[in-house]
Every structure is written in structure tokens, then in C-alpha cells.
């Protein structure tokens, strides 16, 4: 990643110009040939720096009003294999292993679940519990009650 890549990131991280030729608009703004903007962004996408060029929905607006961060205390020996399995469940949008902070926070597996209501989230959590079986000692669901900020990544790169 060089300074030109960083300029492209700075120019696009809060959103794309909304025109039929957005890459050309970015190129014009930065004074870089359009072909170079596209090849650099394609390279960044190939390297995973860009996940994809996409729209991010507001889940509330789409009717997904129950957002549950489900957290699980899973046996250290088993957590990686089980985490992969939980991540494959169709209703899990994010799944990570994170550090515990015992005794107050014994949970090491985090799985984000979106539902239309809490009953739906609870049903999903039950499926996760079934998959984890005896390797799971405790769990909790932390529902979100307000979105305080949702801007995505902003880097001063």
C-alpha cells in the first residue's frame, strides 16, 4: 500500500460518488487516471483490504429489529472447531473468538445474530446451544437497545 492507495482510501471510505461511473469520479477528484484507480482498487480487493464494493443496510429499517450479541463460554480445546461450525450457521453474521475476563466475563465465543424479534433471536441461540453441546458452560444474549454510532471505518491513512 502506497500513498496513492491511501489517497484512494481516504477519498472513498465514507462512501462512493453516486454516478454511473463512480471510479471515474474518484479518479477525477484525485487527478489519477481512471484505469489506475480501478487497477489499484482491484488489487486491494484481491488482497482483502477491500472486502467488496457494496451497500450496508440499516438492519432496523429492513425489519431486523432484534440484534443479539450471543456470547458463550466454550471449552478452550473445542472452541476453534465449534466456532467454525457456529460461523457456518446461516443466521450468524459475525463469529469470533475473543479473550475472557474472568470472573465477570467468562465468555470466549461471540456470535452476532439478527432477527425480526427477540423470540427469533432466542430460537437461533437455542440452535447454537445445541451445536455447542457439553463444551459450553454458560451463555448470555446482549440485545442492542440503541445504535449510538454506525459510520464504519474512518482512517486518517
Amino acid at each position: 500500500m502506497d500513498e496513492t492507495d491511501r489517497r484512494i482510501i481516504r477519498a472513498t471510505q465514507s462512501g462512493f460518488p453516486l454516478t454511473p461511473r463512480p471510479f471515474h469520479a474518484v479518479a477525477a477528484q484525485l487527478g489519477i487516471p481512471p484505469g489506475e484507480v480501478m487497477s489499484r482498487m482491484a488489487r486491494m480487493q484481491a488482497r482483502g483490504i477491500i472486502r467488496r464494493i457494496a451497500g450496508v443496510p440499516n438492519h432496523y429499517a429492513l425489519g431486523y429489529r432484534a440484534n443479539g450479541m450471543t456470547v458463550w463460554d466454550v471449552d478452550d480445546e473445542a472452541v476453534d472447531a465449534l466456532g467454525e461450525g457456529v460461523g457456518r450457521l446461516p443466521f450468524v453474521s459475525h463469529c469470533y473468538r475473543r479473550p475472557r475476563h474472568p470472573p465477570a466475563w467468562p465468555y470466549n465465543l461471540f456470535a452476532m445474530v439478527h432477527g425480526h424479534d427477540r423470540a427469533e433471536v432466542q430460537a437461533y441461540a437455542l440452535e447454537i446451544a445445541r451445536l455447542l453441546g457439553d463444551a459450553c458452560r454458560a451463555h448470555d444474549i446482549l440485545y442492542s437497545s440503541a445504535i449510538l454510532k454506525k459510520t464504519g471505518v474512518r482512517l486518517g491513512v
Binding site: 482483502g48 483490504i49 467488496r52 457494496a54 453474521s93 473468538r97 448470555d140 464504519g152 471505518v153
Partner: protein, 180 residues
């Protein structure tokens, strides 16, 4: 089709000052306000567009509308806050950076003030209130792990509250696509 729900927007650019309009994010824009084309568009946009001269061309052809109409509908969806963003989704991990999930236990009487301060930090990518003793959960995205740690320390210093760090140790899956 969604039209100018939240008043006049500036054409050609995306809504700014998201913080000021946050309550709008929690309102359910009656999904009945979305027509069939909007739904197809929302599903397709979450899957991503190609990097090419006319990235909307194939999508427009599939939906049997013009590229200009695709762009116009994306603008309307952004204005109505059905979409919160449209563009490249960057992954700071792959730039050598770090994401740290952080949580705080904020007294109710200080909640608004602390939320305002936390949200002011540009490295805070999103922030949710959750029903738990740890009632504020935010993600710090920074170019380096050191920078992410510095942001957590700064928030601790100014608020006098402990920031619990939950850095990602392993990622099993990330892909949020909501079907409409």
C-alpha cells in the same frame, strides 16, 4: 420506491453527519415503502459490484432499468437511511491495523455525555447500547494495534471509566447480508 423521506438530500453525495440523525437509524422505514425493485437492489448491493468503468451496468440490465435509475434509487435509499453506506468496505486487518471490540459500564446519568465523547473518536466505527452491566459496546478500528490501544486508553483517561478490551483472537466468519 423510497423518495425524499428525510427532507432534501444533496444529490451526488452521501448523507453526512450520521451522528445527528441516529434516531432515524432505529426507525423501521416501513418495508412497504420499498418496492420490488428496491428489494432486489438491496439484495444485490449487499453482494457487491464489480470494479469496472460502469459497475451498475449489469445490475441495471438484470433489473431492466437504466443505470441512472439504479444510482437514483441508491441515493434515495441512503437518504431514507435504509442503506447506511455505499462504497468500498475496507478491512483494516489487511492493512496491518486492528479491530478491538470494547465495552464500558457507564452510569445512566453520564450515558449521553460518554456516548457523545466516545462517538467523537474517528477510530470508533460503531457503537451500540446493550442491555447488560457492560452497557456500551463499540468497535475501535485503527491502522495499528498500538493506535487502537491508545484510543482505549484515551477514552479511559477522559471518562474515568474502565474500557474492557475484547480484541479479535480468531475470526470464524464475517458476512452480514440481510435478505429483504
Amino acid at each position: 420506491m423510497i423518495s425524499h423521506v428525510n427532507g432534501p438530500g444533496r444529490s451526488g453525495s452521501q448523507p453526512q453527519g450520521e451522528e445527528a440523525l441516529l434516531p432515524a437509524l432505529q426507525r423501521q422505514v416501513g418495508t412497504q415503502a420499498l418496492d420490488d425493485l428496491d428489494r432486489q437492489l438491496l439484495n444485490a448491493l449487499q453482494d457487491g459490484l464489480p470494479i469496472c468503468e460502469r459497475p451498475f451496468q449489469d445490475l441495471a440490465a438484470r433489473l431492466d432499468i437504466s443505470e441512472a435509475e439504479v444510482v437514483q434509487r441508491i441515493q434515495a435509499l441512503l437518504r431514507a437511511r435504509v442503506l447506511t453506506r455505499f462504497g468500498p468496505l475496507y478491512n483494516v486487518d489487511r492493512m496491518g491495523g486492528a479491530y478491538v471490540l470494547a465495552a464500558m459500564s457507564v452510569p445512566e446519568e453520564d450515558y449521553e455525555r460518554v456516548a457523545h465523547f466516545v462517538n467523537l473518536q474517528p477510530e470508533v466505527a460503531h457503537n451500540y447500547r446493550r442491555e447488560h452491566t457492560l452497557n456500551m459496546w463499540f468497535v475501535v478500528a485503527a491502522e495499528t494495534p498500538e493506535k487502537a490501544e491508545a484510543v482505549c486508553r484515551y477514552i479511559e483517561g477522559v471518562t474515568g471509566l474502565g474500557v474492557w478490551r475484547f480484541p479479535k483472537e480468531r475470526e470464524y466468519f464475517v458476512d452480514l447480508r440481510l435478505r429483504v
